[in-house]
Every structure is written in structure tokens, then in C-alpha cells.
Symmetry: none
Subunit: 210 residues, 2 copies
């Protein structure tokens, strides 16, 4: 039996979902609050549900802040957002805060039910549009870098050595070349990157600017 809790301030929607879910023979939905504060009050003296449906726009504390607190106190609760917001920022914040699913409010009741089942089985239910936005996050950083640094393969080797915290001597050993060669490469690297210390090279490299 999956126990489901709801935090949603729209009474009509809340009652509708609660009744529908409670009617299912593999679910029970007795806990329905219209604010995070109330839910936290409830959880102080009761066992947490398995799954919690959470709105974002709520009286008092926002649902996103709510996720953080609830996940911290009761990490085993699976939280699914159920909201009208589909902007990347809210989606991202919700996931970072600890939500595992994200549905839009126009989702049909049977789909909500399925998503809850999916969630407890280790899935991460999202509408395809939401999934696409999540994925777009991975493609963002790309267009950022246009590094014309243009280091040679050998020079990149040396940079990697520096990033690994090696001294010139150890870099020389690693590549079986003389320390003066390492110096020569580093001189050229500095010229190309317009820097004049190891520190700057390491920082640039780890920031993805090379």
C-alpha cells in the first residue's frame, strides 16, 4: 500500500486528487494539507507518507523550500512536484532541492496515479516537455567556450601535469623528458595563454577555459 500525502492550497484540486488516489486499491491518501508549515506540523507526530505531491506556489513557505526541509528530515519520502510552472528555473530548483518527479497540473488523474507507482519503483516521472528541459541543462555549457588557446598535444600534457599538482621535475619524469624541456613548454604555454604562473594555468584549465 502506497501512502500518499498532498500539499496543495487549491481545495478543489486537492480534494479531487485525494479522493481519486484514496479510491485506488493500492494507495491510501489521508494526508492533505494546504501549506508546508501544516505538513511539517503533522509530520512531527505522525509517520511520513511514502510519496508526497507538492505544489510550488503555496501560502507561506514555497514548495521548493518545503522539499529541502522535508527531504532533510525524512529522506525516504519521495517527492513529486505537481505545479503549473514549467520554466527551467523552477524545475531545476525543485530537482536540486530533492524532488524526484515533476508533473504539470493538467496531468490526468490516471497519469498521476501511474506516476506515483513509477516513483516508488525508482523511476522519475516527468512529462516529455519537462524531460526535455532537464536535458537542455546538459547542453547549456557548450556554446560558452570558444577558447582559442590552441595548445599542442604535448603542451596539453604538461598542463595536465600541472593540474595534477606535479613539479617540473615530476612532469619531466612522467614524460621522460628533461626538466629544461618542461620549462620550454611551460614558457610557450604561458605565452599562448597570456599568463605568467602555474596558478593561472591550473585555474584556467579547471575552469574549462583551455
Amino acid at each position: 500500500m502506497i501512502e500518499v500525502g498532498i500539499v496543495e492550497d487549491n481545495v478543489k484540486i486537492r480534494n479531487l486528487i485525494q479522493r481519486y488516489l484514496d479510491m485506488q486499491d493500492n494507495m491510501s491518501c489521508k494526508i492533505a494539507m494546504d501549506s508546508v508549515e501544516e505538513m511539517l506540523e503533522y509530520l512531527k507526530v505522525h509517520k511520513p507518507p511514502n510519496v508526497m505531491l507538492m505544489d510550488i506556489q503555496l501560502p507561506g513557505m514555497s514548495g521548493i523550500k518545503g522539499i529541502e526541509i522535508i527531504k532533510k528530515e525524512y529522506p525516504s519520502v519521495e517527492i513529486m512536484m505537481l505545479t503549473i510552472y514549467h520554466d527551467s528555473h523552477k524545475i531545476f530548483d525543485s530537482l536540486v532541492a530533492g524532488a524526484s518527479g515533476y508533473l504539470l497540473k493538467h496531468t490526468s488523474l490516471p497519469e498521476i496515479k501511474e506516476s506515483i507507482e513509477n516513483l516508488v519503483q525508482g523511476g522519475a516521472p516527468m512529462s516529455p516537455q519537462i524531460a526535455r528541459k532537464v536535458i537542455q541543462h546538459f547542453n547549456q555549457p557548450k556554446p560558452e567556450h570558444k577558447p582559442e588557446s590552441d595548445l599542442t598535444a604535448r603542451e596539453q600534457d604538461i598542463v595536465n601535469g600541472l593540474v595534477d599538482g606535479l613539479s617540473y621535475k615530476l612532469i619531466a619524469d612522467r614524460f621522460d623528458i628533461s626538466i629544461d624541456t618542461v620549462r620550454a613548454h611551460i614558457r610557450n604555454i604561458y605565452k599562448k595563454l597570456h599568463v605568467n604562473s602555474k596558478a593561472e594555468v591550473i585555474a584556467k584549465s579547471l575552469r574549462g577555459e583551455i
Copy 2:
């Protein structure tokens, strides 16, 4: 009509999928190669398909590298991975490279078909398990740091100076303290972090390990 291309080296699987998709009345699947290289060769003189199914383990170039090249040359192609790998690393790499969907090979043919339709409508088809892994990425950074480094505020100031590429002298100037004090702090920082060079401190810091 959705035109679908396939890059998959297992002939049996490739033919099976190709025939099935080509049989659908809203799809056409004429382009099926067993390596990225062949696909690139083909694309030089033919119009790219709308959707491309891509394996990861391939003879020659890997599918992940393939995504990068194809997305760069033909950004409008929607790429969906179809692979046996379900480790976070491969999933992540694929998405960063530009894939928009990620299915496991045991997915049924009708589900593949649905996923393709979903993809062209702006969705991001993934199995629930994959979606969960993607989402876990957002929760990762949290438990990551358990750094008992425990630097004092002043020590953190100094570290920031190092990361900014400053010399001891410049750090001393920045905080209006003597260079010997900077040395003293750095000595303590090295002790706490178990390192013995600026380079390592900078690397640790930029990796979020402080």
C-alpha cells in the same frame, strides 16, 4: 513523415528495428549503418534524417563522439541513444554531447516507435530508471562535500587569493597583512589539506574539495 536513421553494428537488431519502423505509416527508415564513419560518409551527399538512433559501443568511433560530430554538422537532427549501458557516466556524456533521448536496448519496438514520435514533438524520451539517474545528477553535489578541511575564514580568504592567481605579496597587499603572515596561513592550510604546493590547493578548491 518522420525519417529515421540508425547507427548500430549488430545486424540482427539493426534490421529488426529498421524493418519495424519502415513499416509504420508515419515513418520511413532507409538509412542504417553500422558505424559513425559510414553514417558521416552517407551524410556528405544525402539529406540527414529527422531522427537518429545511435548505439554507443560501435566499431571505430564511439557513438558518443558520433553525437558530437553529427550535432555540430546537422544540429536539427534529433539523436536518441539506444544502448545497453545504463551507467550514469555514459548517460551523462551522451546528453552533454547532444542526445535528446536515451533508451535501453530491451525497449520494445512499439515503445521505440512512440519514443521517436515523442522526440520529434519536443519530448525527451527516457525510461524511468534513466530519468532517475539524470535527476540524481542534480542531487549529487550535495553529499559530495564532506570536507573536514575546516579552514578558518581567514584561511579561506588566502585560498581565494591563490585561486585568483595572486602571489604571496599580492595576497598580503589585498588583506593588508605581512607576507610572513601569508606564509604562516599557507603553512596551516597545507597542513589541514595534506598538500604541499599552491598548485594542489588551487586544484582542490576549483574541484570543490574545500
